[in-house]
């Protein structure tokens, strides 16, 4: 287990308090994870997965860089291409500062999204984005440590008879692997760029 640093959040805490209130009022719809877990003071990225080139990657391989993490699946026609397009545009706009940020796309659909399937998908959006997959139990563990939610939903009209519900927010981690904040997948890329620049330059 990695060392847990105490991080003071300031604005994030306020945002978390607001979403916690919303969350408490709407949580009677079934099992869902909180977008920013109001109970958690901090958490550290923790995973071991296989990237779309076949290399094993762990969170520790990305220490020293900011990680921008997006969970999704390749058969998703709306949210996931939009999210990946947002990330690709953010990376474009960051220019040389982009080398301080590693975007990661982690599948929640390991049955279909093998590393080689991701190799034909993720780089189409941007060469810098790394697709990560693994056996279902590894994906499950990863989702738990990232405090994100995903679920297979039977849907007769979807390819292979199912679709996936999943947390669509991006998660940002600092160079020590500590969770910092979320961004929405359809956020204006320029706003994310401005925020990232301030943090990278800080």
């Amino acid at each position: 287990m990695k060392k847990v640093r105490i991080v003071l959040w300031s604005a994030v805490v306020v945002a978390a308090a607001v979403s916690a209130t919303l969350w408490m009022t709407e949580r009677n719809q079934g099992p869902v994870a909180a977008r920013v877990d109001p109970e958690a003071e901090s958490f550290t990225a923790d995973f071991e997965l296989t990237d779309h080139t076949g290399m094993v990657q762990t969170d520790e391989d990305f220490r020293g860089r900011w990680m921008l993490v997006f969970f999704g699946f390749a058969n998703c026609p709306d949210v996931c291409p939009m999210g990946l397009a947002t990330i690709a545009q953010v990376m474009d706009e960051l220019g040389t500062q982009g080398s301080a940020v590693q975007p990661l796309f982690i599948t929640v659909d390991p049955e279909r999204d093998t590393p080689s399937a991701l190799a034909n998908y993720v780089p189409q959006f941007g060469q810098g984005i790394l697709g990560l997959s693994g056996p279902p139990d590894q994906i499950e563990r990863t989702a738990e440590t990232f405090k994100i939610y995903y679920q297979k939903i039977e849907e007769a009209s979807a390819p292979d008879g199912y679709t996936m519900g999943h947390t669509s927010s991006f998660l940002l981690f600092d160079p020590e692997g500590e969770f910092v904040r979320i961004y929405e997948y359809d956020e204006e890329p320029g706003l994310i760029v401005t925020d990232l620049r301030e943090r990278i330059g800080a």
Binding site: S19, M82, A85, Q124, Y149, S157, A158, P159, S168
Partner: protein, 160 residues
């Protein structure tokens, strides 16, 4: 916009005679409503194995409500309108949409993160720079065929 029915027909006829693709908008006078479709676009697909997505806006310039009830497209053996919903926890999921009612003077948008045309069982890939026909089906029996331009896979809206 066109002032009169005659103007509209004239413009449409001219466009058709000249073979213009009418890619940016299309309109048709149905029995009870003006239906104006604008800003159609689709995202390029990677091959044909995964569903494609297309977007557009529909305005009802008539005096009666009308509903968008379905889609048909030669390029897809299974075209339907789906809706993405994101709850307050940031969890997104997708399901087939019910009929979408457009009030008189109202507009609906099929856009990323909301309604979208889900094009399953693609019969050919959606190739950036090409176009394909898509037919919108309305509750009054109107069938409106529009031409959808295919943008890059990283497009976030009709402007790319």
């Amino acid at each position: 916009m066109f002032k009169t029915f005659a103007n509209a027909i004239q413009s449409l006829s001219v466009a058709l005679l000249m073979g213009l693709p009418m890619a940016s908008s299309a309109q048709q006078l149905s029995d009870n409503a003006w239906i104006v479709v604008e800003s159609p676009w689709a995202r390029a697909s990677l091959g044909m194995s995964r569903p494609g997505g297309a977007y557009l806006t529909v305005r009802n310039e008539g005096n009666d409500p009308i509903s968008l009830i379905g889609l048909r497209a030669k390029i897809s053996d299974m075209a339907s309108i789906h809706e993405t919903r994101t709850n307050s926890d940031g969890v997104s999921s997708m399901a087939p949409a019910d009929d979408i009612m457009i009030p008189p003077g109202g507009m609906i948008a099929l856009e990323p993160g909301g309604y979208h045309a889900m094009l399953m069982q693609l019969q050919s890939p959606l190739v950036e720079g090409e176009t394909f026909p898509l037919t919108l089906l309305f509750s009054d029996g109107t069938e409106l065929e529009i031409t959808v331009p295919v943008l890059g896979i990283g497009a976030r809206g009709p402007e790319g």
